[in-house]
Each structure stands twice: as structure tokens, then as C-alpha cells.
Symmetry: C2
Subunit: 603 residues, 2 copies
């Protein structure tokens, strides 16, 4: 990217010393880490009701119980993670905790589950947010994929600028959405109390028998509300000191707001007898019944759309952070571990934007099929993390370790049950994909680690004998006699006393003219002319080099390629890329050094 | 392309000495150069009738007159080109003749008109041929773009194998199609004579008044029949000696077969009162009326489909040949002038396949919009070529030059009128595009020529002083101390006594560890540690090099980059591509030589 454009989009580079200042107070931190969790309020209730409605009017009566279960689940998970944050003040995501306490393999399972989950969060939230916009403005529907990708790119750019500014950008809409939810709940309560709510539930036909399985499936759908909890534990070091305390308080706030909102919206939906449909969201139906189709309705709809688009931001904080931790452990390419010049993990941000954009394009901005995939990964990670914490307390046996271990054990059991429930009830709806993707990722991570480990051994200086260069042979490839070639010959003579020039005979007239001119410009360099029966340059040159290989003296041999550098980029197209082909071929031959000697053209 | 696959598809390489044997007898030559011309019989009559039908039943009566005009035009053009072939035995396409006799600018106009025409021929013929197939098998319709591209790739591969084998592959279907046409004409005549043909023309509603403009537009449509004539004149050197005589005879045959077929099909369509429609081709309607929907009908339909697909082959012979001639004149990149290892102009073949495939994909295999573009280019080239031939005879003033000049003058006048007619009647149907594309191409060709001409001057050895290297400074970039770095340091010391090592301080612990180890491995090389406040490697290195620039002694400076070469391709992804970025940045700085010293890993 040209530097000027980069600076305009991302701001000036920031020095390492500025890192400590780039910490977050609790208020903007809540905004950053809450947007994913809060946005799921927009669809969690709907996911519950869409399953229950299959069982008819009576089944819909179970929604408040399911909401209570999800609120309890949120409290359980938050308590467990609150302990994790104190135990791992430098950042304790499921990957670190499982890796530390249970071993590499469970750690990698948790890590890959979370990476997949972050990507899905970006794709699903973007698609849902854009769907909210296109529902309001149907004329935009044909452009929805482009809008989705543009939204991802905007959030990506904001994140590449750096975390504190991201906090500023995202704080306002998050709080606006929370206020809207409270407004909705208070308004709904007021109308209930004043008796303006409908009294009779509408009749709903029964499509499936009301079984425990149906209720568990509805619960699984609602569990999507909890994705995003992980981000705080992974991002402890983003907080201002004391990091653990600030992160812990943020987590408790988040869980409280989430539990209240899910309960509130689901209870309202219950009392207002909302029947979910495909054309209007549950939140939209509720708002319309409570406030009518006026200014407040549009404000709440707009806030919902914005929060969904901002939810992707949680993943843009979490994914690069987790990728950098895994890269430091050499399970991911080391490029993910580098802080960019704005103090963010730029490569993680870029790859997250790329993969989720591809998913959005492939699924044409319609990611309802991805929603079932998306809770199973995160609950797998929760479970592994809680089991790891139990192990952690047990190993430490510090003061009061038993109640702590008990809290995490409870969390592990509860989230473990949720995994089994989701896997069972959503298996045919896409959860099976996780069974394929996670093992593939774990295998890849292990291969990467293997490569880096073997690299250390291969590069160690222990017992290393540096190569011998001897009367180091240098071969200059000449395609004529001009300024570029004479420059290359001069360079060759400067670096070795053992220089040979080789030319491929493509045109006998040209070749003999060159042989006549040769003594004038390079009397001390022997010129070898190679035959080329098939008119190629590359094959004869490589054959000659392989032949010389057997005679050479020393471990390395140098091949010099005169290259002129055109003044304009398009002029490159007007020249054979022979040098490039030869260099690529030589890369795979040991002990060969290929040098391009540039001769710059003026026009 | 891996060599084994290349050899399987293209056959073994052929030596330059085999070139003379790769000549064509008249019989396969006719097949190669005739497929485009003959295939246009499949749609020329239809293009005439589709315009006339707008004028109602009476207008359709004019079709035989138009067919006669087109047959006469074919004879005129063939006679003119027959003279060209004798005057230019080494190949005399419109580009050469116009360039030689009228100057660069008319030559380039003719050349670009023809190049565009060859590309359009490939796209239009492929799309029409595949449309014939998908009409017969509607289930294939959704895959038509893929089938079009596959067809282009098959013809491309056949042409990359070489011209003589192409002749063999294509001879049979071409003659089969000619036989089918004769069978159709004889069968139609027989039924006419025996009185089995329909007597009354069906009533056709009048959509446009019958004007001269309408008739001229119908004539313009029919002129598409003549595209492809050029190929023989451009390809004289493909024929066996005596080249001119063989090429001339082939040309006369072609014109005769073409004229007969267009006349025959149009007359039959007239007597059988064919009314063209959008759902069935004229040839299909005729065949059905004469032979019924039986075996002969399917045979003729299949032959039509095959010949249309083979028509693209003419362009695959003509385009690379013309591109190579223009490349030798330095108006196109010199890569087009190189014979590939199967004695064909591989680059021209590849680029023709690429551009026409892109057109087919963009137009979704529906190129009716391209047909109006496609006659104007070729008639522009015809006219310029004939004017050039008049000039040629006038300059030479050889025996009997006046009648020869008269024939070409007639050709020039006739084809010139046709250009005006097509441009007038088809302007709004797409002929205007030619007005944009041809000047753009001419401008590009002139820029390319300017670059090559200026290159000669810039590279001349006249007055050249070779650069001085002095105590040639060598800088080694080190990112740690390991086998790859020590190898690079050894190489650096072998090529210059003036070596400095530079390291960028990204991690103070690592850096100080390296500084401690340094004297053990490179006591004679000073190690400079560069600060990097923004954690980048590239900027500090480039700044250091630019600073050294001012102090250096000699014209060149060398930067050595230790690089390890992983054993497997995917392992490249696990390493920073810093060396590549630095090399790219150095390419644009004068007097810098960047050398990668490879260290090969074993696993």
C-alpha cells in the first residue's frame, strides 16, 4: 500500500513506548467487548421462538423458562471466567488455560474452536446487520453482498488504526443500543401494567410434537447469545492497570446486561404473544406493538442494525489477539505475532477480514446456515477452559482452592452439557462441519509447530562448518553486448577472478557479431556460446550450470544476470522474463547464487 | 507448466531444422484456412434474411440479389489477394502491404483492425457453435460459458502442438461440412425440380419500410461471410514450395466454395420461402424442409456445429502470425516474435485464447452484440491493403502493371464502399466501438515502438564508460546468528574486503545475545545495530542504505540477504517475506545490487 494512503487510513505510526498508554478504561472497554454479546440480544430470543413455534401455542409458553436457563448459563460462564481473569492476568482465553493445564492437544482444540467462532461471528453479524438494513430499505437488497464486504472493510480499517480509537468509535452506538433495549423493556412493562397489552394468544398450528428434544433445540438456538464472552479473558492486557480487576468488573457488567436483556425481551415477547415469522424480526414486532410505527420504532431498528454491524468488532479485537498468542507458541505463522506500526496485530486483522469476506461472498450475504455452527465451537472452548481451571486450582492448592475449583467445575459441567445438547440437537443443521474443520486446523497447527521446531535444529551453529568458496566460479549470462552486459561483466570481475560469460545462440548473425566485438570490451573473460536446438534460453543455461557443477571448486557458484530496469512499469511487459525463470529454477538447486545486476534506463 | 504435462499435451520439442518440413500441402491448407470462411455460410444467409424480414414478404425477395453481390465481392477480394500473394511471397497480409506501400500509420490501422477481427472471430464462432449444440441439447444451456471456454482451450492446445498436426485434426470436419452443404444444395434442387417445394410464400408483417438503407443493412450483415480471407495472404510461408502458387490456388478454391455455398443456400432459402426466426437457424429450417427431421438433418446440424467450433482455428493460425510480424517490426512485445518449441508462435496463441475467453465470459457466451463489430475491421483492412497494392504496382511499373493495378483499384473501391456501407448502416449496432478500439491500439503500438527505439540508444556501447566498483561496499542484513547468516557472511567476505553487517533491534534480549556471540563467528565484520521505533525491519534498513549511499566509494553497492529455502512450498508462508520487500524497494534505487544467499533446509 502506498505510504500516503496507508497513513491517511491508519494514522501515523506509533512507537513501542506508546503501548502502555493504549490501554482501555472500563467504559470504552465494555463498549468494545460488549458489542458482540449485546447484539445477540437482537436474535437470541428469535432463535428460541423460531424453534418453539413448531410446537404450536403451548410450546411458545416455554420461552421464559428457556430465557431463565440462558441467563443462568450467562452468570455461570461469567463467574467461571471471572476466576480465570484473576488467575491469568496477562490474558487467559480458553486456548491458554487449556494449553497450560490440560496439554497441547486440548489447547489446540480450544484455540481452533475459538478462531472458527471469531470468523463466524464476523460473517453472521455482518450478514444479520445488513439484512436489518435491507429489510428497512428493500431497494438495497441486490447490493447486500457488496454492503456486507464494505462493512467488514470499514471495521477492519478502524481496527488497523488501533484499539483506543476503536473504543472511541464504537462506544456511542453500543450504549445507545443498551438504552434502546431499556426503553423497550420499560415501555413494554408500562403498557402491560396499564393493561394495554393483548390478552389472548393467537392460535398457532402444531407442526412438530412438543418434546423435550424440541425444547432443548430451542435452548441450543438461544445459546448463540453467549458467543463473545471469551473476548474479555483473552484481552485482559488491553485494560488499564489493575488489569485483572478492570477486566473482571467489565465481564460482570457484560453478563448482567446480557442476562437482563435476554430475560426482558423474551418475557415481553411472551406477554405480548409474539409469533416469530420470516419477514419481520421479533424485536421489530415487539417495538411496533409497544410504540407503534413511529420515531421510536425507527430509532430502535437503527440501533439494532448498527449494533449488529459493530458486533464484528469484538472478533476484530479477539481473533488477532488469540492468533498472536498461538503464533508466539509457534502454532501459527510468526507474522501473526508481530505488532503493526499502529500497535495492533495487523496480519490477524487482515486475514480475519479476508476470510469472513470470502464467507459472505460465498454465502451471498445469507448466513442463516452458519448460525448452528457457531455456538458449538464456543461452548467446546468454554468447557475445555473450565476443566483447565479446575486442574489449575487443584495443582496450585492455594488458599480457598476448593470453592474456586467447585465454581469452575460447575461451569465445566454446565457448558459440557450444553455442548452435548447443541451437538445432538443441531447436528444435522451444520454442527457436523465443526467435526471436520477443527481436526483439520489442529493438524495444521501441529505441522507448523513441527516446521519451526525442526528449523531451530537445522539452523543451529553447533558443529557448523562455514562453506568454502575456493576460486569461486562466476558465470555471466549475456544476451548481446550492451551497457547492461558490460556493467554486469565489470561487477563479475570485481567479485571473483574466475569469470566465464555464456551466450545462447538464437540468431547466428547476432552471435558472430557479438563474438567479433567481444575482445574490445571483455578480453579477459572467456565467452562460451551454447547451442539451442529448440530456441529456448533457459534449458541450455541450466544444462551448462549443471555440467559446471561437477567441475567446480568450492561450495558455491554465482550466476550473474544483467537486467535493465525500465523507467515505466508497463515497459517490463515488453521484455522477456528470462532472468526471473532462471532465478526461480536456480532457487531449487543447492549452492547457487543468482545475482541480477540492474542497469537503470532513463526513459 | 510442469514439463511432463507440457510434453503430453504438446508433444516433443521440434528443432529449428524441422521448420521446412512443417509446411502444408494444399488439401490440409484449404481445411485450415477455410474453416472460418466456410462456417460463415452457417450464418451469412441468416444475417441477410434477419434484416430483410423487417421489410415483410416483398423485402425477402431481394435476398438472391444480395447473395449475388456478396459472391461478386468474394471474387473481387480473392482476385485482389491473389495478386498480393504473388507480390508478397513471404506473407502479405493487409498489415505488411499497407505498411510497405502507404506508411506506418495506415499499416498500423490495418494491423489493429485485423487483430481485433481475429479475436472477435474466435469469440463469435465459439459462441455460435456452442449455441448450435445447446439448441440441440437444451440441458447443456446453463453450462454454455464453460463449454465455450473449454472449446477455446482445446483449439488452443491443438495449435500449440503445431500447424501440420492441426491440419490433420481439422481437415476431416471441414470437408465433411462442405460435403453436407453440397448434399443440401443437391437435395434442395432435386425437390425443386420434382415440384415438391412449397409454392406460396407465407405472409410476413411489415415492421420497417422497404428502403435502400434496409437492403444495404442486409448486405452489411452478409459481408460477415468474408471475414477470414486475410489468413491465407498472411500465412503464405506455411505452404509447401512453390509457396505463392500453392497459396494462390488455395485462395481461389476457397473463394469459389464460399461464393457457391452462399449463393446456393440463399437461393434455396428464397425458393423454399424461409422466414428467419430467433428459435431455429435458417440452415436448420432448410434442412428440415428438404430432408425431414431424420438422420441427414442431424448429420448436417452436427457438421454445422463442428465447423463453427473449428472456425476459431483460422484465427489461431492468423493472429499469432500477424502478431509475430508486428513484433518483429517492434510494434508489439518481442515475446510474440519467438517461435515456441513446437515451431509455433506460442505467446500469440496463448493471448488470443485468453482474450477471447474473457470476451466469452463477459458476454456470457452470447455474442450477437459482437457480430456487427466484426465485418468493419476486416473491410477496413481489405481497403488499406488494396490501396497499398495499387501503390505497389505504380511504384514498380513492371511488365503489365496497369491491369494488375486496375484489379486492385477495383478491389479497393469495392471494399471501400463496403466499409462506408457497414459503418453507416451498423454504426448504432456496435460499429462505433471500432472507432475507439483501433485508435487506442495504434497509439499503444507506437508507444511500444518508441520504447524499443529508445532502448537501443540507451544501451549502445558508443562512448560508454563501465562503472567503477572501487572498494565495493557490501552490507549483510542479519536477523540472528545461524547457519544461513554465517553462510551469507562467508560469501560476503569472499566477494569484497569491505563488509558490514546490519541488524535491526526488534528484541533487545535477542540483539544483545547476538552481539555476544558475534566475535566467535565474524570477528572481522563490524556489526551495526539499527533502532526501529515502529517495529518494522524494512524502513531502518533502507534508511541506513540511503545514508551509506553518500559515503560510498564506487558506483555500485551490494546488499546481501541471507535466505533459507524451505524444503516444502507451504513452509514459505511461515516466514516473513522481508527479503522480497527489500529487494523490490532496492530495484528502484540506482547502483544497488541485492543478493539472496540461499541456505537450503532439509525438511
Amino acid at each position: 500500500m502506498p505510504t500516503a494512503l496507508k497513513r491517511l487510513l491508519l494514522g501515523s505510526p506509533m512507537s513501542t513506548a506508546m503501548a502502555r498508554q493504549e490501554r482501555l478504561a472500563k467504559i470504552p472497554a465494555l463498549a468494545i467487548f460488549a458489542s458482540d454479546l449485546m447484539s445477540s440480544v437482537a436474535y437470541a430470543t428469535e432463535e428460541i421462538l423460531l424453534v418453539l413455534v413448531l410446537g404450536g401455542t403451548i410450546a411458545l409458553q416455554y420461552s421464559p423458562h428457556i430465557a431463565v436457563a440462558i441467563a443462568l448459563l450467562a452468570v455461570t460462564v461469567a463467574s467461571s471466567y471471572w476466576q480465570t481473569i484473576y488467575a491469568y492476568p496477562s490474558g487467559g482465553g480458553a486456548y491458554i488455560v487449556a494449553n497450560d493445564n490440560l496439554g497441547t492437544f486440548p489447547g489446540l482444540v480450544a484455540g481452533s474452536a475459538l478462531l472458527v467462532d471469531y470468523i463466524l461471528t464476523v460473517a453472521v453479524s455482518t450478514a444479520s446487520g445488513v439484512a436489518a438494513i435491507t429489510s428497512a430499505f428493500p431497494a438495497l437488497y441486490p447490493q447486500r453482498v457488496a454492503i456486507c464486504v464494505a462493512a467488514v472493510l470499514i471495521v477492519m480499517t478502524a481496527n488497523l488504526r488501533g484499539i483506543r480509537e476503536t473504543g472511541r468509535i464504537f462506544a456511542l452506538p453500543t450504549y445507545w443500543f443498551i438504552l434502546c433495549l431499556w426503553l423497550l423493556m420499560l415501555g413494554g412493562l408500562y403498557r402491560l401494567v396499564t393493561g394495554a397489552a393483548p390478552l389472548e394468544p393467537p392460535p398457532v398450528p402444531i407442526q412438530e410434537p412438543l418434546t423435550l428434544f424440541l425444547i432443548l433445540r430451542a435452548f441450543s438456538g438461544g445459546c448463540a447469545a453467549l458467543t463473545g464472552t471469551e473476548a474479555v479473558a483473552n484481552g485482559v492486557q488491553y485494560f488499564r492497570p489493575p488489569e485483572s480487576r478492570n477486566a473482571g468488573i467489565t465481564l460482570i457488567w457484560m453478563a448482567a446486561v446480557l442476562a437482563t436483556s435476554v430475560l426482558g425481551v423474551t418475557y415481553l415477547a411472551h406477554y405480548y404473544h409474539i409469533v416469530p415469522g420470516t419477514e419481520e424480526t421479533v424485536v421489530s414486532m415487539l417495538t411496533r406493538q409497544i410504540f407503534g410505527r413511529g420515531g421510536i420504532y425507527y430509532m430502535i431498528q437503527a440501533a439494532t442494525a448498527v449494533i449488529l454491524l459493530l458486533a464484528v468488532n469484538t472478533s476484530f479485537a479477539g481473533f488477532p489477539m488469540l492468533a498472536s498468542i498461538m503464533a508466539k507458541d509457534r502454532f501459527l505463522p510468526r507474522q501473526f505475532a508481530n505488532l503493526g506500526d499502529r500497535l495492533v496485530f495487523s496480519n490477524g486483522i487482515l486475514i480475519l477480514a479476508a476470510i469472513s469476506s470470502v464467507l459472505l461472498v460465498i454465502f451471498r450475504g445469507n448466513t442463516h446456515a452458519l448460525i448452528p455452527l457457531y455456538a458449538i465451537g464456543v461452548f467446546t472452548a468454554f468447557t475445555l477452559s473450565q476443566i483447565g481451571m479446575v486442574r489449575h486450582w487443584w495443582k496450585e492448592q492455594g488458599r480457598g482452592w476448593q470453592p474456586r475449583a467447585a465454581i469452575n467445575a460447575l461451569g465445566a459441567v454446565v457448558t459440557g452439557i450444553v455442548v452435548v445438547v447443541i451437538a445432538t440437537t443441531k447436528f444435522t443443521h451444520g454442527a457436523w462441519i465443526v467435526v471436520i474443520v477443527i481436526p483439520c486446523l489442529v493438524w495444521t497447527f501441529l505441522q507448523i509447530r513441527k516446521h519451526y521446531d525442526s528449523l531451530r535444529g537445522q539452523l543451529t551453529l553447533k558443529g557448523f562448518l562455514p562453506p568454502k568458496l575456493g576460486r569461486h566460479p562466476v558465470v555471466v549470462l549475456v544476451g548481446g553486448l550492451h551497457r547492461g552486459v558490460v556493467t554486469a561483466l565489470t561487477y563479475a570481475r570485481a567479485i571473483s577472478p574466475n569469470v566465464t560469460a555464456i551466450a545462447v545462440d538464437l540468431d547466428p548473425t547476432e552471435t558472430s557479431r557479438m563474438q567479433q566485438q567481444w575482445p574490445e570490451w571483455a578480453p579477459d573473460v572467456p565467452l562460451v556460446v551454447l547451442e539451442s536446438p529448440y530456441r529456448g534460453v533457459i534449458q541450455p543455461v541450466l544444462q551448462y550450470i549443471d555440467k559446471m557443477e561437477k567441475q567446480r571448486d568450492g561450495d558455491y557458484m554465482t550466476i550473474i544476470l544483467p537486467e535493465f530496469v525500465p523507467a515505466k512499469w508497463w515497459q517490463h511487459l515488453l521484455h522477456n522474463q528470462t532472468a526471473l525463470f532462471i532465478k526461480t529454477a536456480l532457487l531449487f538447486r543447492r549452492g547457487k547464487v543468482a545475482i541480477s545486476i540492474p542497469y537503470h534506463l532513463d526513459q
